[in-house]
Symmetry: C2
């Protein structure tokens, strides 16, 4: 898997879930399908009066999630940035041309209440629960920020093997110290919970 | 539409999107299918080591979103509460019995790293962009909190009709003051943006 394939898969899914943090600090989520895709960018339309728009203008942080027909989860962490004022009309018209249903929602000139945001820099997480062992990977696009997640076995490991026995995905291997195959890790925390010498830490 | 039908639709969709706020204040979103449904509650499984679990234990606020095959969006705002310690095993086993694939992910006793959260009190938003005019409604379950959204025309309205002409969904009607048919409102903000006397306010 790679970043470009993940972005292509998002396009096939078509309706993506966008999470933001509300101005009151609450989690906010909605479906968006008014999206124009480029190989390494995406542009989406919303209306200026929606809370979604205010959250994006205030803070810009967004996570986007798609679940594919092949039971893959693809998650994008990014900052959404409004397209330059001079380019707004072009992008609005492009998205409306690609998705004619939008004309039913915002007929005629009412589309002018819209605003298009761009996502250019992203961290993409690919996660597949349908293979054995499960599989995950991360990719960066543009200046996307790499945020490591999961667990790591430190040098305090005494090699007792407790973590190996408890791992649902059998993704911990002997070594000095023992190590986790990150691509196959559920991040369930069983190893950390049962390590008798607390040799395991969160990344 | 009503709350129970919405919850039934969530069950048919099967894979739901859960948004939380990360411990670092960032939006967080993931798919969850390990869910047991009751007519007015839902119970879901996650693993104790996941960030998702920590976010829920810390704060509990969650929004859940499903997009149905009929192009409806159903969104639940709620607090997730861990099931009582004495009931955890029962609910974990119930969810694993209903969804046998979970045994492949967490085989044997490794399911014990799991934790089940309940959602009993919720605000449900139903939103359908595929009808003309669009349709939205809200329902409460249990002690779910009612958070009004959208716009309202106040008594400062001078009856000029500018808002009516600009409304993409033609959901503003003459009156004294003019009024918005909330069930058909996109929350796009066009009326507020163009009202010459600032008679329109956000709810």
């Amino acid at each position: 898997m790679d970043a470009q394939t993940c972005l292509k898969k998002l396009e096939y899914v078509g309706v993506l879930n966008f999470a933001t943090v509300g101005l009151d600090g609450t989690p906010q989520i909605r479906c968006v399908s008014a999206i124009h895709y480029e190989p390494d960018k995406l542009y989406f339309f919303t209306a200026k009066g929606k809370d979604f728009c205010r959250e994006l203008l205030e803070d810009g942080q967004v996570q986007i999630l798609a679940y594919t027909r092949y039971k893959e989860m693809i998650r994008v962490s990014a900052n959404a940035v409004p397209v330059a004022e001079t380019e707004q009309k072009n992008y609005i018209d492009l998205i409306f041309q690609e998705q004619p249903y939008l004309e039913n929602v915002y007929p005629g000139k009412t589309r002018e209440i819209g605003i298009v945001f761009a996502i250019r820099d992203m961290q993409i997480e690919y996660f597949n629960l349908g293979v054995n062992p499960i599989f995950r990977e991360q990719y960066l696009v543009g200046n996307g920020e790499n945020k490591p997640k999961g667990y790591e076995i430190t040098n305090h490991c005494i090699g007792c093997g407790t973590c190996v026995k408890g791992c649902p995905q059998r993704c911990i291997k002997p070594g000095n110290p023992y190590y986790i195959i990150q691509e196959n890790c559920l991040h369930c925390g069983n190893c950390l919970e049962h390590c008798p010498v607390k040799a395991i830490r969160r990344l």
